[in-house]
Symmetry: C2
Subunit: 204 residues, 2 copies
């Protein structure tokens, strides 16, 4: 990995950290891109080369999680019941949190506080989830041998799985330690599985 790439990664992290701190200090709306750029001593123009938008700053975790999920899903046998594959993808995201650096854990916790304080940011994440859902549904439909534009059931399976993840991420609020959050999220996943009829995801 060359100097260039390392430097870019450093800048990226610096922008993220500065932004999270500013958001928590003085609010999301009242923090401008100009301020963030100023804090890391880059031009606003450059900011937009690292993050496509201000909103994108709070979506980095979602994007990261989606990538992990798609990877994990690809490794599951195609004849596994689809919901089981998705749940193991979600557990891969949780497992990844275990291996994160302390810096990333810190960012994750700040992000979570941000979501609690500014609920409308949850909406941004939900919007991204809708895209994720399309991608995952396309993959599930492929395994079911159906047309992703027609197969409501594939979409429903994915929607259930992502619901579990989203609920686990956002609720309960006021959870401070990483260990606790992971524990509660794992519980939510199990709770979700218990709600569903055994074998429900294997119908045509």
């Amino acid at each position: 990995m060359g100097l260039r790439e390392r430097k870019k990664e450093k800048t990226r992290a610096a922008i993220l950290d500065a932004a999270l701190d500013l958001f928590l200090e003085q609010g999301y709306e009242s923090t401008t891109v100009e301020q963030i750029a100023g804090a890391v001593e880059i031009s606003p123009r450059t900011f937009f080369r690292y993050f496509t938008s201000k909103d994108h700053l709070v979506l980095w975790f979602h994007d990261h999680g989606e990538a992990i999920m798609l990877d994990a899903l690809a490794e599951r046998p195609h004849d596994e019941p689809p919901f089981a594959s998705l749940m193991s993808g979600l557990r891969a995201v949780l497992a990844d949190l275990e291996e994160s650096t302390p810096e990333d854990v810190e960012r994750f916790l700040k992000l979570r506080r941000l979501f609690e304080r500014y609920p409308h940011l949850v909406g941004l994440s939900a919007a991204r989830s809708a895209e994720t859902q399309r991608r995952l549904a396309a993959e599930i439909a492929a395994r079911r041998g159906t047309d992703p534009d027609e197969d409501q059931f594939a979409h429903l399976i994915v929607a259930f799985a992502l619901s579990a993840m989203r609920v686990g991420m956002e609720c309960p609020r006021n959870t401070t330690s990483m260990a606790e959050i992971k524990e509660r999220m794992a519980q939510t996943l199990e709770m979700t599985e218990r709600c569903l009829r055994p074998g429900w995801d294997q119908q045509p």
Copy 2:
């Protein structure tokens, strides 16, 4: 109803219709608020007094549906299983479509075409759904006698119900007639109910 209110309602509808047509003709992004305002001969400033944002134009159905759902929910007995109450709320939204004027049906179909053509608009709707979910979860938590910030299960119940609605709304694509759409949405709701374990929503 006075002249003033009628005129306002007329302007509102005119903006909506002009916007939907422009979006379908020349694309969502490439249509500016100035163009929409020009088409109805109002100032751009006035546009923002009718719709808080450009995005808000494509959320009017969601807002309408949410209002109906909350009303319908309020009329359900508090000891009914929560998921059943929510599903009857969703069916109230479908029933409302039956009673809509031809103009509203036309708008609904245009909106749906718009969502198919520009998938990122689905994200806007999903973002709004996140807020709806919070409100509904608060109501369900109240009925369960729990703290809405802590009760993951209440959030999960709502998430499942809204998943059903969203899947029914967006999938299958390329459905042209209103009757067909309603039929498919009703099917999706039933499908969702069949996926869940009987009595699943009555645990503590």
